[in-house]
């Protein structure tokens, strides 16, 4: 029984990240919490790319490059989201998304 983690283990880890992130997205009332959940999900996908590259497409670096892009995009998304949160916080003094139901039906 080898202790070296294989594809399955890494994939289970990333999936766990993803699931935790998704749980966060669906359950947190604070927008920041939701955003952190999303970031977690994005990171799990980034991890995925690296794993798959490492185990399934060894000679190339496509997955790794993709990971870098994902991180960059996630950062951009986070920045923009935080900017919007700040703007909202200024007017509402809260970023509780469960109260943001001005528009519905």
């Amino acid at each position: 029984m080898s202790l070296v983690p294989g594809l399955e283990h890494w994939f289970i880890l990333s999936t766990l990240f993803f699931a935790i992130g998704l749980y966060g997205v669906l359950s947190r009332r604070s927008a920041v919490g939701v955003l952190i959940g999303v970031e977690l999900m994005l990171n799990s996908t980034a991890l995925n790319f690296v794993i798959f590259n490492r185990y399934l497409a060894t000679p190339f670096l496509d997955g790794a490059v993709m990971m870098i892009f994902v991180i960059a995009v996630a950062a951009a998304e986070a920045v923009l989201a935080m900017a919007i949160f700040v703007q909202i916080f200024r007017s509402r003094h809260s970023v509780d998304i469960s109260t943001m139901t001005e528009m519905r039906y």
């Binding site: 669906l26 359950s27 939701v34 469960s98 943001m100 001005e102 528009m103 519905r104």
Partner: protein, 639 residues
């Protein structure tokens, strides 16, 4: 085809032309001119008709060929199925041509006086022309479709003329009733035509059609080969009964008689022309026209006989109790039409005495009944009332009318040597000759009843003392009205001597007995005299309150409640239980379904919109759910 009669189309065409011209151009401007032009056109038509009759009967003195004097294809339904418009001359159509033109002419002339004060008389003469045209078209129809077309047109003319006083609710109601009841019968006629047309077409497809004939032509339909083929298909009886129902509607046979008494709401000359002399005999004419086909089915003829005999008795009984002079005459007409109908019913191809008798009676009846109506019209014009109990003693004040009315009364009562005697005698003879004793007995009884009720109104209206102020002040009608009365009186006196039965003989006649037993004229005359005598005894000194019927006579006066039955069926059953539910059903169920669809759509929109809670996490859940569902769908469907 005899070129000598090619001009015959002028007879119906003249009134038609006059109808169009008078209706469109003359009547709106001058009602006097309208009357004169209308009358002139009918005069011309009469002259031509009489010339045709003379020519024709001289050429064929004892039953002759049918001549298509003129025709053209009017409406081609399909190759081989064409409605032609044409003029058919045969003994009975020529006979009817004369009757219709003469009576119509006299009524036109009479109306010139009768309607002189009516501001709407332009319209009146227009309609009268329309009627004359339609009736003539009906008479000369060479095929059953033209018959139907003119049949409808006389119906509508009758409707228009009955409702002439259109501000009078009773006249409006009567006109509607007349139209709708006859229309109801016409449906059966129409179905009969469809059946005849269809079967005729089948026959034509197998047997072939003689040259120059169409499927709808009477000559084709009554040809022995066609009748035989129809009989084989066992549809002859059905078709003939259907046609008979149509005829019964027009001729007001029981139980479709209810429109005729009400139709007396129209101007009296109209009653004389349409509802006594001409239109109502269209049904008789139709049966006579199709007689060879009817004769192919004993059942159909029996129906005609039974209905005719029953109507004959039924109407006569009612006539005895009516107080309105025109209603009495109307029921009398019904009764006489019953005579004609059962006369046709008792006839057979081999022994067609009833056929000739029926047409003979049609001929004589036209004159004396028109005379009665016109006389009644003169009286009503003078007294301003229809009730015989407001008349009385008119014999002195209106001598000419009195004499002519008396002649007509005696004629209808069947006293020799007046016209009615000969024709009624012949009908009774026909019943005997063809072994229908019950029908004969009914005929004889009705002969007595006829004499009784005619005697009743004559005695009450003309003899005794005046029973109202207006009767007191009544005076003789104008000459223009009296002239037709006199002419008709002459015809009522002499028409019996015209050998109509000779003219209209059927070729199939196997020379059976053409006269009843020798005792028949005496018995018939005795019956008539008895009726008159009873009337004299009862009404010589009429008691006060006679007008008010009591006890069983109420039933009679209310015409056995036949109107009420109809009203009940239409107003209480069809309108509220058929029509109203359909209207309701349409609004609430059919339309409700449409609205329901709309509302359901809207409602589902509302329900779906509740999914849009505004909660981001609801949305996210749906999103993830969508992913799962699509994944599952892939797994299920594509795998």
């Amino acid at each position: 085809m005899d070129a000598g009669f090619a001009y015959a189309w002028l007879v119906p065409a003249l009134p038609l032309l006059s109808f169009a011209i008078v209706g469109l151009f003359i009547a709106p401007r001058s009602r006097q001119a309208a009357g004169l032009v209308a009358t002139a056109s009918v005069l011309a038509a009469t002259v031509i008709a009489v010339i045709i009759a003379a020519q024709y009967y001289v050429a064929f003195p004892s039953g002759g060929d049918a001549i298509i004097a003129w025709s053209f294809a009017w409406l081609e339904y399909a190759p081989g199925l064409t409605a032609t418009i044409g003029v058919l001359l045969d003994p009975i159509s020529v006979l009817l041509l004369v009757v219709v033109t003469v009576v119509s002419l006299l009524v036109h002339i009479y109306s010139l006086g009768y309607m002189a004060d009516d501001p709407g008389s332009g319209r009146y003469f227009t309609f009268l022309n329309l009627f004359t045209f339609s009736m003539l078209g009906l008479v000369v129809a060479p095929n059953i479709l033209q018959m139907f077309i003119c049949w409808e047109l006389v119906g509508v003319s009758s409707f228009l003329l009955i409702g002439y006083y259109y501000q009078k609710p009773s006249a409006v109601a009567a006109s509607k009733k007349a139209f709708i009841v006859t229309r109801f019968a016409d449906v059966f006629f129409l179905i009969g035509i469809l059946l005849l047309g269809y079967q005729g077409f089948q026959v034509a497809a197998t047997v072939g059609v003689p040259d120059g004939m169409q499927v709808f032509d009477f000559l084709f339909l009554t040809a022995p080969s066609t009748v035989g083929a129809l009989g084989d298909a066992s549809l002859l009886t059905i078709a003939m009964v259907l046609v008979f129902i149509g005829a019964a509607g027009k001729s007001a046979m029981f139980p479709l008689h209810i429109w005729l008494p009400d139709a007396m709401e129209g101007p009296t000359p109209v009653s004389a022309l349409i509802h006594a002399a001409t239109m109502v005999v269209a049904g008789i004419y139709l049966v006579a026209r199709l007689f060879p086909a009817f004769a192919g089915s004993a059942d159909a003829l029996s129906v005609a006989m039974i209905v005719g005999a029953f109507t004959c008795l039924f109407a006569a009984v009612i006539a005895c109790t009516q107080n309105d002079i025109k209603r009495v005459l109307a029921f009398s007409t019904l009764s006489q039409l019953g005579y004609m109908m059962f006369a046709l019913g008792v006839a057979t191809l081999a022994s067609p005495l009833g056929y000739a008798a029926s047409l003979f009676h049609l001929f004589t009846h036209a004159f004396f009944k028109a005379l009665l109506f016109l006389g009644a019209g003169a009286v009503i014009h003078a007294v301003h009332s229809n009730s015989i109990w407001e008349m009385g003693g008119l014999a002195r004040r209106m001598p000419v009318t009195h004499v002519t009315f008396l002649i007509a009364t005696l004629a209808i009562a069947g006293l020799p040597p007046l016209a009615g005697f000969f024709s009624k005698d012949l009908i009774l003879a026909a019943a005997l000759v063809n072994h229908h004793p019950v029908v004969f007995a009914v005929g004889l009884l009705v002969a007595a009843l006829t004499a009784f009720y005619m005697g009743r109104i004559y005695i009450v209206a003309f003899l005794g003392k005046a029973r109202s102020d207006s009767a007191e002040k009544a005076h003789e009608a104008s000459p223009v009205m009296l002239a037709p009365l006199l002419i008709l009186a002459v015809l009522s006196l002499g028409a019996g001597f015209i050998p109509v039965t000779e003219f209209v003989g059927l070729p199939s006649d196997s020379g059976h007995d053409h006269h009843g037993p020798a005792w028949l004229p005496y018995v018939a005359t005795a019956a008539g005299l008895a009726g008159l005598l009873i009337a004299w005894v009862i009404y010589r000194r009429p008691t006060e309150g006679e007008a008010e019927a009591t006890g069983w006579r109420v039933v009679l006066q209310r015409q056995f409640y036949s109107n009420e039955v109809y009203l009940f069926v239409t107003k209480r059953i069809i309108f509220p239980f058929v029509s109203a539910p359909i209207a309701w059903f349409d609004r609430h169920v059919v339309d409700g379904a449409v609205n329901l669809t709309g509302n359901l759509t809207r409602w589902s929109g509302i329900v779906l919109s509740r999914l849009q809670t505004g909660q981001l996490q609801t949305y996210a859940t749906w999103f993830v759910g969508g992913v799962v569902v699509i994944g599952l769908l892939f797994w299920w469907w594509v795998r």
